[in-house]
């Protein structure tokens, strides 16, 4: 491996935390989705690193699977964002708390 696995893990952890912070802190639905994407990519990066480290192909297959799933997810969720925007004229996450107890 060119880069040590530790560096890779640190990078992906940082990415994951950034994504998580984005999901928790931001109020715009779009930004939350972006945060989720960043977290997914952090996981993907870890998987790629792990595949390189152990010289096994499984993790890379998993990453490809992940990318496909992510694209599907993004398309669906963006469609939902458009729908929600139409319904409440806002994409602020605070407007959608009907599930409150």
């Amino acid at each position: 491996m060119i880069v040590p696995i530790e560096h890779l893990l640190v990078i992906s952890t940082i990415l994951f935390v950034l994504g998580l912070a984005c999901v928790i802190v931001r109020r715009s639905l779009i930004m939350i989705l972006i945060g989720a994407e960043i977290m997914l990519n952090a996981v993907g990066l870890t998987l790629v690193g792990a595949a390189a480290f152990w010289q096994r192909i499984d993790a890379q297959i998993m990453v490809i699977f992940l990318m496909a799933m992510t694209s599907a997810e993004v398309s669906i969720s963006l469609a939902m964002v458009v729908y929600l925007q139409r319904r409440k004229n806002s994409i602020d996450v605070r407007a959608f708390d009907e599930m409150r107890g």
Binding site: L20, V25, I32, V93, E98, G101
Partner: protein, 619 residues
């Protein structure tokens, strides 16, 4: 014979049931005819069965009421001399009172209810008298209580009347508790509740048990017979129609206690202590009630207190061990007191439904017949020489005197004092009602014939009732004592002593009369003052009981309800429910519908789990 006896009991029941179920559908005079007819038929049946009562008596078992385990109660009748004489009195007096009531209630729209209850009462009273076991007797005992309740409150539109009925029922039921416990105990001791079996085996008991059982029976008797301390219901019971007062609260039901003690006398007599208590309660009640009678204003309340007082004499008789004296006085009293009450009903009618004796006066001019009838009753009550009341009262006092011990001599003294008071208040009543001029404003009401002539036989019986048990001193043969097989009750005092006692009795009668004559012959203004108010209120026992018993009862009930039930039990439960609800409310806040806070939850959870495993790994 057995059939006649059964009919004696069942005819009034049948009359009562028919009137209760169908009375309202029958044309007007029919219910009255059924009621009077059934009681008179019962009287005739009793007369027919009378020969069977001599000696061993007559026994009839109708059917088995309930039997369970070793317990067995039959509907069985016992017709012995004691029961026979009582049955005869009850049915006889009840027949006359029914006839009187037919006149008295002529215009009442609700008369079928009245006659149904009156017939049921006669049935229940006969059940007491004829029962061969204590449980059946208890059935009658409670039955008369209920009929009395229903009849006292007969005019239910005024709440006071119904209240008086309720008071009578509950106060007598306090006495019934003692009776019940006595019954339970006797069954445990003997394994049977048959009256004869218990009496026959009473000597097997140890003295303490006998005393306690006898005192329990006394408690029951006190309730029914309005003796101290359960006497407060009787004056209020006068709220009922007058025939009811005559039948239930003078002649029959209130003497049921005396009858019970006479019935169980073989048992009761084994305990000198219980006998002493009976005598003491009797004489104290007699004295108490006589003083109260002095202060009363309503004619029926005077008579009510005098009834209480006379029943006290009967208790005294039982207490000094003379069953025949008790029964003798019971009989003469039944005659003259029923007479007095019914005559009082006539007087009230004549005075235009006015009860207050201070607003009467001059009644003699309104009806001579009623005057003479009432007077006949009064002289019996006052104990005028040679009347029935004189002989029976004299026999009781002589029996007390003959006991000899200081305790019984004191009781004798109290009894004589009571006799003086009795004579005084009887003549006071007579003078206030009949002498002088009419002081009220009401116009007289018509007096139906049915309301006077049934009184005549009673007057005769009252005046000449002494013949039933005429003592040897007056040339009699003590027939009643012989019939009851209680020859031991016939006193064998020296002739000089007997003359002295008789002389004293006559002296107190004359003394009371003279005093009443001096004070009331010319009526003065109505008495008022602390003492007469005190006597009017019956020594304020009602207030005392209200303060001592009823208020704490209500207070504790309130505590149970508001404090324990609503406060503690329901409070605890509702509190528990409220706690769960508030927990739920606070948990609601967690689910605020925001993904970001849910995610925060995930992360904290994750961190805790990871931290936990890390710590484990380190340790």
């Amino acid at each position: 014979m057995a059939v006649l006896l059964t009919l004696t009991l069942l005819l009034p029941l049948a009359g009562g049931i028919i009137n209760a179920c169908f009375g309202n559908r029958l044309p007007r005079p029919v219910p009255v005819i059924i009621a009077c007819g059934s009681v008179i038929a019962s009287f005739l049946a009793c007369l027919g069965a009378l020969p069977g009562a001599g000696g061993e008596g007559l026994r009839v078992t109708l059917f088995s009421w309930m039997s369970s385990g070793t317990f067995q109660a039959d509907i069985g009748l016992l017709f012995d001399p004691l029961a026979a004489i009582m049955t005869l009195m009850v049915t006889g007096v009840a027949s006359l009172i029914h006839l009187y009531a037919a006149g008295y209630m002529e215009e009442d729209p609700d008369q079928t209810r009245f006659f149904a209850l009156l017939n049921l009462f006669v049935f229940a009273m006969l059940t007491i008298v004829l029962a061969d076991n204590l449980l059946l007797m208890f059935l009658g005992w409670e039955g008369v209580g209920f009929c009395s309740y229903g009849l006292i409150g007969f005019w239910y539109r005024q709440s006071e009347n119904a209240e008086a009925g309720r008071k009578a029922f509950i106060v007598t039921r306090i006495g019934d508790l003692f009776f019940t416990v006595g019954l339970l105990w006797l069954f445990k001791l003997f394994g049977t509740i048959g009256i004869e079996a218990i009496n026959g085996r009473a000597t097997e008991l140890d003295p303490l048990t006998v005393t306690l059982v006898a005192l329990l029976l006394l408690g029951g008797a006190c309730g029914k017979s309005a003796q101290l301390p359960l006497m407060t219901w009787l004056p209020d019971a006068m709220a009922g129609p007058t025939p009811v007062s005559a039948l239930i609260h003078a002649a029959t039901m209130v003497t049921a206690g005396v009858y019970l003690l006479c019935r169980m006398f073989p048992l009761v007599s084994l305990s000198p202590l219980a006998l002493g208590a009976i005598a003491l309660i009797g004489v104290l009640t007699a004295l108490y009630a006589a003083t109260c009678a002095l202060g009363q204003r309503e004619i029926k309340r005077v008579l009510a207190y005098s009834t209480m007082s006379q029943v006290g004499y009967m208790f005294l008789a039982v207490g000094v061990g003379s069953v025949s004296a008790a029964m003798f006085h019971l009989l003469t009293h039944a005659f003259f007191k029923a007479l007095l009450f019914m005559a009082a009903g006539c007087v009230i009618n004549l005075a235009g439904h006015e009860n207050d004796i201070y607003l009467m006066g001059g009644m003699r001019r309104r009806s001579q017949t009623v005057f003479w009838l009432f007077l006949a009753g009064l002289v019996c009550l006052a104990g005028a020489p040679l009347t029935g009341g004189f002989f029976s009262k004299d026999m009781i006092l002589a029996a007390a005197y003959a006991k000899g011990s200081p305790f019984y001599l004191t009781i004798y003294g109290l009894g004589v004092a009571t006799a003086a008071l009795t004579s005084f208040y009887s003549f006071k009543l007579g003078y206030l009602v009949f002498a002088g001029d009419y002081r009220g404003e009401e116009l007289p009401h018509e007096l139906p014939g049915l309301m006077t002539w049934p009184l005549v036989p009673l007057a005769v019986l009252g005046l000449f009732g002494g013949l039933l048990n005429l003592p040897h001193l007056f040339g009699g043969h003590s027939w009643l004592s012989a019939w009851l097989v209680r020859q031991g009750d016939v006193l064998d005092l020296p002739v000089a002593v007997e003359y002295r006692l008789t002389g004293l009795a006559i002296a107190v009668f004359v003394l009371g009369w003279l005093l009443a004559h001096l004070r009331y012959y010319r009526f003065k203004a109505r008495e008022s003052g602390v003492l007469s108010e005190f006597l009017l209120a019956g020594w304020r026992f009602d207030g005392l009981y209200r303060r001592l018993l009823i208020r704490p009862f209500n207070g504790f009930g309130r505590f149970c309800w508001q404090g324990l039930e609503e406060g503690l039990v329901n409070g605890l439960l509702d509190g528990m429910a409220a706690t769960f609800v508030s927990w739920g409310q606070s948990l609601r806040l967690l689910a605020n519908g925001r993904i970001s806070s849910y995610l925060q939850g995930f992360i904290w959870g994750l961190l805790i789990i990871v931290g936990w495993f890390l710590l484990r790994a380190v340790a």
